[in-house]
Amino acid sequence: MKLSRRGFLKVTGAATTGALLGNFAFNRKSSEAYAQTLRTRYAEESTTICPYCAVGCGMIVSVSRGKVINIEGDPDHPINQGSLCSKGSALFQVANNDRRMTKVLYRAPYSDRWEEKSWDWTISRIAENIKKTRDANWVGKDSKGRVVNRVEAIGALGGAALDNEECYLWSKLARALGIVYLEHQARI
């Protein structure tokens, strides 16, 4: 029944725009002279999928000058047809939030504070740690002499919020490292 959902959203994969505008959507030109300007009118739009639960609702992200200025449901998406829940409706605040982490932080052993670090330093330090732990705890064969090629001293957790391609690379890298404590949210 929601024939006017679409409005002026520019992202349309559909040939159905005309039909959807239907009988009680109306023409912008005839609206009042003092009708307000839509704040998203000149924004660039792209589609995304909600990062909260696994319903997989479609969303439209409006961007102006490199900033997200609005996120709302994608009216063309067959699952949510423009609607969202309270969490999905709040996604704007994930894109614009001064509580977001913007620096690599490091806490040295026994320290009581974070310090900022560069990516280069951090990646090489983490890689060294992984290598050191892996090499020192490598199990090539078990007590019965059978080949196991694994390391039980490194754990890997998480991934349900990652993209498929990220999950795949993590899955692949972890196996190459011989990690067997490989787990994520699906288990709990």
């Binding site: 994969g13 559909a14 589609t47 999928i49 990062p51 319903v55 997989g56 609702c57 961007v63 997200v68 998406h77 067959p78 047809q81 829940c85 969490k87 605040q93 994930v94 894109a95 509580r99 977001r100 913007t102 620096k103 052993p109 009581d112 090489s124 740690n129 992984i130 732990t133 090499d135 059978r146 080949v147 196991v148 039980e152 001293a153 490194i154 754990g155 890997a156 957790l157 998480g158 991934g159 919020a161 990652l162 993209d163 498929n164 391609e165 990220e166 999950c167 795949y168 690379l169 993590w170 899955s171 196996r175 190459a176 990690i179 067997v180 404590y181 787990e183 699906a186 288990r187 709990i188």
Partner: protein, 785 residues
């Protein structure tokens, strides 16, 4: 989900059990509502009256941890009153299969139980085979050794009075549910079951799910529109992360992780490739060698050769359970030195979090990748610990949010959907893809330069995602789909994969997702399929091979005529010799292959001999329960591993007489980092609370809005009391037992802070999956003074 979100609209009856869909998957209710507008009935079975219950035609209260008794009772009623779909059972399930003469069940135990090992020897949990090695059947379902008769006997113990005494569900409601849901057994009618963590987070979680699936099979509700067994998954890509095997026991595409016994590729393939003597069984897993070799080729490329068993030795071999609880027990014992957390927050979300946080203190190093400062990353900075005593080196890496990077995620209905980058991540934040790429390259460099323990799998790892700073996500997506290594072209579907090393595929299930025709996950064609049941086959893509409703051959009779012509999923056009509608479960003509193609016997299993804890679901009490098991002397799941020792105390009903359960709410999400940092959501639900009945509050002199202490054997928390009619005591065996409920989203970081409910939960898991028993434990409450 066997079906998908939109398909809920096709149901005649919807049973939401172990799920609070209205709160945790609100948009699912778009389709529940549409079904109800067409006259569908909504049944909600839950320990508490939720926002889902508020919409239900029938709300049946169920004591947490008693699902099996409930469903067994419903199934018993359905069998005894002939509401089941006999044709469906004979054609599609193992109901008619004869079972080994020595299979038996006594005192809550199936034959073959080893008390010392807490394990079953399953040698008698088998079919009787004929001289060709094909299971013997009795299509009349009368043979006392056929699965149907054994099931009937097993269920006969679950009469409605008995069930009511276990579940606390009033008998008249049990009857109403059995009748109304049982009516979907009629031809052309469909009932769907929506479930979630309320089902799985028990020591009998897997058997809970099984009982639902069996109910659906009895009623002929699997493979049809508006039917199925539908797990409502809670994280945007938890389906994809499972498919990609971020779990110790599987490889991508649900191939098995090599075990120590599988020393060679040959041994592995012999062990894990099922065989079937039945020519009518598609036995899909017979293709395991093609999928495994193609995976090894995707991982190690040119270094995976026939000569080295396609680098099979590079794959780690497991010999025990390495699941979440085991990991934290090993960490607590000092066996794990380093931990990498990709967007997971176990300091809030793990069971028994006091212990899990203590375990983090034993690490040499911790890497936490997230959008926010989590309780896990800053475990050393909590009020109760002294950072000066904690050795752990901690790296907190800022990650990009969903709209700041490009890639795909897979929803609960198996739809793989592409997302685009809208903006750059803030500051130094990077995509996980970038972080993993940088880390892999650095490790490859280190091992190439300095060598090290078994360096080959790392040095030889196939890792090339373009020359740019940001790895090319399309190259990764294409690798997952797979290539024909002879032509260099993308493989069109998994039917083309080979076991000779001439194809690669990072995940056979995702074969056909990114082909020479393009990126299927990015499709946006809004047209429905010819059967107009809401499949939208050209919108995004779904695994396997874009089949939107799986096991769909079961929706037709053996001639290919749909049982529900008005909402058919597939149907056979005899003249044109083809299936139309959804992508069928294999294109063979009707009647030539059994419908459940993933099982070697081609039939869905009412008798599930693959499970660790029995071929039929049997009621056992939760680890912590206020009552004795009425069904047998076997109090808890006999196969469940119970951890003892430090910080693993188990509470008894004297000290902790109240049942407790944990759950989620609409306004927050999981361990909270994505919502407790969001002012609009924090506004809606700013504080931790505990819900309880008026009778419990009265007896404890607690008033609505009071601060209340909740204690279990593991710990103590405080929360605001919500005293409400939505909570009621359960009448079990004539006595009243109270329950309380706690949301588990809170922690000590973020805008909204509060005690984590998981301080209270135990380290014990399901016998098959080790999913923690978050949903039923014992506590006590008192007013804070």
């Amino acid at each position: 989900m066997t079906n998908h979100w939109i398909d809920i609209k096709n149901a005649d009856c919807i049973m939401i059990i172990g799920s609070n869909a209205a709160e945790n998957h609100p948009v699912s209710f778009r389709w529940v509502t549409k079904a109800m507008e067409k006259g569908a009935k909504l049944i909600n079975v839950d320990p508490r009256f939720t926002r889902t219950s508020s919409k239900a035609d029938i709300y049946a209260p169920l004591r947490s941890g008693a699902d099996i008794a409930f469903i067994n009772g419903v199934m018993n009623y359905i069998i005894e009153n002939n509401l089941y779909d006999k044709d469906y059972l004979v054609d599609n399930t193992n109901a008619s299969f004869l079972v080994n003469e020595k299979f038996s069940f006594k005192n809550g135990l199936y034959v073959g139980y080893n008390k010392k090992k807490k394990k079953y020897d399953k040698k008698y949990w088998r079919y009787q085979l004929d001289e060709n090695g094909i299971p013997k059947v009795d299509r009349t379902l009368q043979n006392p050794r056929c699965v149907f008769q054994l099931l009937r006997k097993h269920l006969s113990r679950y009469n409605l009075d008995e069930v009511s005494a276990i579940t606390g569900t009033p008998k008249h409601l049990l009857l109403e549910v059995a009748k109304i849901y049982g009516a979907t057994g009629a031809k052309g009618k469909s009932g769907t079951i929506m479930y979630a963590m309320g089902t799985t987070q028990h020591t009998v979680g897997t058997q809970n799910v099984r009982s639902y699936a069996m109910l659906q099979l009895l009623l002929g509700n699997v493979g049809i529109a508006g039917g199925g067994i539908n797990a409502l998954r809670g994280e945007s890509n938890v389906q994809g992360s499972t498919d990609m095997a971020l779990l110790f026991h599987i490889l991508p595409g649900y191939l098995k992780t090599p075990r120590v016994e599988d020393q060679s590729l040959k041994q592995y393939l012999e062990h894990w490739t099922p065989k079937s003597a039945d020519p009518k069984s598609a036995n899909w897993w017979q293709h395991t060698p093609k999928y495994m070799v193609s995976l090894l080729k995707a991982f190690w490329g040119e270094h995976a050769t026939k000569g080295n068993q396609f680098a099979y030795s590079y794959m780690p071999k497991v010999s025990e359970n390495y699941s979440h609880i085991t990991m934290f027990e090993a960490m607590y014992d000092g066996k794990i030195k380093g931990l990498i957390c990709m967007g997971q927050n176990p300091a809030v979300g793990g069971p028994n979090v006091r212990k899990e946080k203590k375990a983090l203190e034993k690490l040499d190093w911790l890497v936490a990748v997230d959008l926010w400062e989590t309780e896990t990353a800053s475990f050393w900075a909590t009020p109760e610990v002294d950072p000066k005593k904690i050795k752990t080196e901690v790296f907190m890496l800022p990650a990009a949010a969903s709209m700041e990077k490009e890639g795909s995620i897979t929803n609960s209905g198996r739809w793989m959907q592409w997302r685009y980058q809208a903006v750059h991540p803030p500051g130094d934040a990077k995509s996980d893809l970038w972080i993993l790429d940088k880390l892999a390259k650095q490790l490859k460099k280190l091992y190439k330069k300095d060598g090290g323990a078994f360096a080959e799998p790392i040095v030889h790892l196939n890792w090339n995602y373009g020359p740019k700073e940001e790895p090319n996500v399309h190259l990764v997506a294409k690798e997952i789909n797979g290539y024909d290594l002879v032509t260099g072209k993308l493989v069109p579907s998994f039917g083309k994969l080979k076991d000779d090393g001439t194809t690669s595929s990072g995940n056979w299930l995702y074969c056909a997702s990114y082909t020479e025709k393009g990126n299927m996950a990015a499709r946006r064609d809004p047209r429905d399929a010819t059967n107009k049941i809401g499949l939208y086959p050209n919108w995004s893509w779904c695994w396997p091979v874009n089949r939107r409703i799986i096991y769909n051959r079961a929706s037709c009779d053996l001639k290919g005529n749909p049982h529900a012509p008005h909402k058919y999923v597939v149907k056979w056009l005899a003249d044109e010799k083809k299936w139309v509608g959804d992508v069928p479960d294999g294109g063979w003509p009707p009647g030539t292959r059994h419908s459940f193609i993933m099982k070697p016997e081609g039939h869905a299993r009412l008798f599930g001999f693959g499970l660790a804890d029995g071929p039929f679901p049997e009621h056992y009490e939760p680890l912590e329960s206020p009552v004795k098991n009425r069904m047998s002397k076997t109090q808890i799941n006999p196969v469940t591993k119970v951890w003892r020792g430090a910080m693993n105390e188990i509470g008894n009903k004297k000290k902790y007489p109240i049942i407790a359960t944990t759950y989620r709410v609409t306004e927050h999400w999981q361990a909270g980092q994505m919502t407790r940092n969001n002012a609009w959501l924090v506004e809606l639900m700013p504080d931790m609370f505990v819900e309880m009945s008026k009778s419990l509050a009265k007896s404890k002199r607690i008033k609505h809005g009071d601060r209340v202490k909740i204690k279990t054997a593991r710990g103590e928390i405080t929360a605001y009391a919500v005293v409400t009619e939505r909570f009621q005591a359960f009448k079990l065996n004539g006595r009243l037992y109270e329950q309380v409920g706690l949301p588990w989203h809170f922690g000590y970081k973020g805008l909204a802070q509060g005690f984590s409910a998981n301080i209270l939960t135990p380290h014990v898991g399901d016998a098959n999956t080790m999913i923690p028993e978050y949903k039923a434990f014992l506590c006590n409450v008192e007013k804070e003074v």
